[in-house]
Amino acid sequence: MKSIVIGVIGADVHAVGNRIIEYTLTREGYNVVNVGVLSSQEDFINAAIETSAHLILVSSLYGHGELDCKGMREKCQEAGLDDILLYVGGNIVVGKQDFQEVEKRFKDMGFNRVYPPGVTIEDVLDTIKADLGD
């Protein structure tokens, strides 16, 4: 069973969507490691090390995602998680910005997949399976 670490990053307390993600991915047969709300980059990374996760799926709903996600890829490399996949989704930036711009910024930061508001976990399942080789 492959492990996926999920959680809500930064000073963000939006708990409901995170539960839905946990429920859905568990149903799909993944070992879901939920670090919960108000989680730091280190919380995600430590959990990924201990559980040998293949994917870290970061949620952010309160607009500060860009600040919170900065440097995460570098920290993963520092922690020996060279091959880990990083996804991010939600309201990850402030205001209504051109999503292509936003996507580029997050990809430059080392995220493999970047999702705009309104994308549900169901929409992403096929991508997850393909990326994890399932």
């Binding site: 000073a11 963000d12 307390v13 040998s52 309160y62």
Partner: protein
């Protein structure tokens, strides 16, 4: 019902407690210097004769059981993967088993760390790493390194279960003494203490006691069954939770100040008491023990000075006290007994600092986070603000004229608003120093042990507001 004799082989003193099971009370206590270098039985015999003298007649004990922290106690190394996760879980298991955790190692261990295990004469190694289904590469690497070394200490494996077969093969090939246990952190942030803890206790009784030359006493003593801090932990849990009809005291804390260490125990779930705090990090055990090897009245008196700020030291200087000189003297003369009010004042200052610093490291903390929903707090560790009772024990507290003065420094303070210290506990005193003895007695007579504690551990004064 007859008489029971409970023995505590301490690093300095061998302490005897005689119990009348019928009366449900202590009939006498005595102590003598521990003689582990020569023959541990010598110190025991001296204490035994003193005990008989104070009882005034010769009585026969139905059973004699002992706990021990002599010959350095139980020295352990905790090995895990991530420092805050499996390493911390492993460390907590060691502390819960009553060990002194001399080494805490994370990630891949190297040659110099293996050397440190040998240099520090570690008695038992606890090897963890990886949640179940998670990382096994690291713990297998560490098992190989241990297997290749000439370490003879028993190894307790309590890591990722997926790695257990491979680790069993690795360790059995090189004839290591090893034991397989449940994972200390089976799932992320979930703590699983019991299995590994019980195994450590077994090994302590079967292997360590003998290696330390304490086995010789077994003709006079039925069993040495526990490391002393573990006996205290059992007594504390019993006193808190109660047993059957006999009610416990509820949430409580204990501070045990010794010559070399200061131990803090808390019996509490420690869940957040305020609405806007979110618990984060590894789960905490209900019965939690921390031990500070740098805080103590004699061997570790200099560590206490290091824990003091420059302001504190100069504050004492203004009062005409050279606290560094006083601590150095105590460090050199571990047998020192306070003679004057001045000496007692110094003892109070050092003991207060031991409690203050040890409590800081034991209690949970709050870290504020500004969120769009207002101020929220991360709570890491236990919220002990609602602790009902705070019990002082250890020679310096018991013999003090002003034990509350020492214990007051455990309280919540405006200066340290993020530390979740007790706010208004009732102070109590273990005046006869019976906690470890009652832990031993509780193995067979928990109700009697509980009633004796409730009788003998006295209330010092009522609620003390922070």
């Amino acid at each position: 019902m007859g008489f029971y004799l409970l023995v505590d082989f301490g690093s300095t003193f061998t302490k005897l407690t005689a119990i009348d099971l019928e009366l449900e009370d202590i009939i006498a206590t005595s102590k003598a210097i521990t003689t582990v270098e020569t023959n541990i039985i010598d110190g025991f015999t001296v204490a035994y004769e003193k005990l008989m003298t104070s009882i005034g007649k010769t009585i026969t004990f139905e059973k004699t059981i002992a706990c021990s922290s002599a010959a350095g106690g139980l020295k352990m190394a905790a090995i895990g993967l991530v420092e805050e996760l499996t390493t911390e879980a492993a460390r907590r298991v060691c502390l819960g088993a009553g060990a002194k955790v001399e080494l805490v190692l994370s990630h891949h261990i190297n040659r110099s760390e293996v050397q440190a295990i040998k240099d520090k004469k570690i008695d038992i190694i606890l090897l963890a790493g990886g949640a179940n289904g998670g990382n096994k590469e690291c713990v297998i690497h560490n098992a190989k390194i241990l297997a290749e070394s000439d370490i003879i200490a028993p190894i307790v494996f309590a890591g990722n279960k997926d790695a257990s077969d491979e680790i069993e093969d690795i360790l059995s090939k090189t004839n290591k003494t090893f034991f397989m246990c449940e994972n200390v952190m089976p799932k992320l942030n979930q703590l699983n203490i019991e299995d590994a803890k019980n195994r450590i206790k077994d090994i302590f009784v079967k292997n360590i006691i003998e290696a330390k030359g304490i086995k010789k006493i077994e003709e006079k003593i039925d069993q040495v069954i526990l490391p002393t801090p573990n006996a205290v932990l059992m007594a504390a849990e019993l006193l808190s939770k109660g047993y059957n009809e006999e009610k416990g005291l509820g949430e409580l804390m204990i501070a045990d100040i010794g010559g070399a260490t200061t131990d803090i125990y808390s019996m509490s779930e420690g869940l957040p008491k305020q609405m806007n705090a979110i618990l984060s990090g590894l789960e905490e055990p209900f019965a939690k023990r921390t031990v500070e090897g740098d805080l103590g009245m004699r061997y570790s008196a200099l560590g206490v000075i290091q824990a003091m700020s420059d302001q504190e030291i100069s504050h004492h200087k203004k009062q005409g006290i050279d606290i560094l000189a006083e601590a150095t003297m105590r460090n050199h003369h571990i047998e020192f007994i306070p003679q004057s009010p001045h000496d007692e004042n110094i003892e109070t200052i050092i003991a207060s600092k031991c409690i203050d610093a040890a409590i800081s490291r034991h209690v949970g903390t709050l870290k504020s986070v500004y969120t769009p929903m207002g101020m929220m707090y991360h709570q890491v560790g236990k919220d002990l603000t609602e602790t009902k009772y705070f019990i002082g024990t250890g020679g310096v507290v018991i013999h003090s004229q002003t034990p509350i003065e020492m214990m007051k420094d455990a309280l919540y303070s405006e200066q340290k608003p993020t530390e979740l210290r007790p706010k208004h506990p009732t102070f109590m005193l273990d005046k006869d120093y019976i906690l470890s003895a009652m832990g031993l007695l509780s193995l067979e007579y928990p109700e009697i042990a509980l009633r004796i504690m409730k009788k003998r551990i006295i209330i010092l004064g009522d609620k003390h507001a922070a």
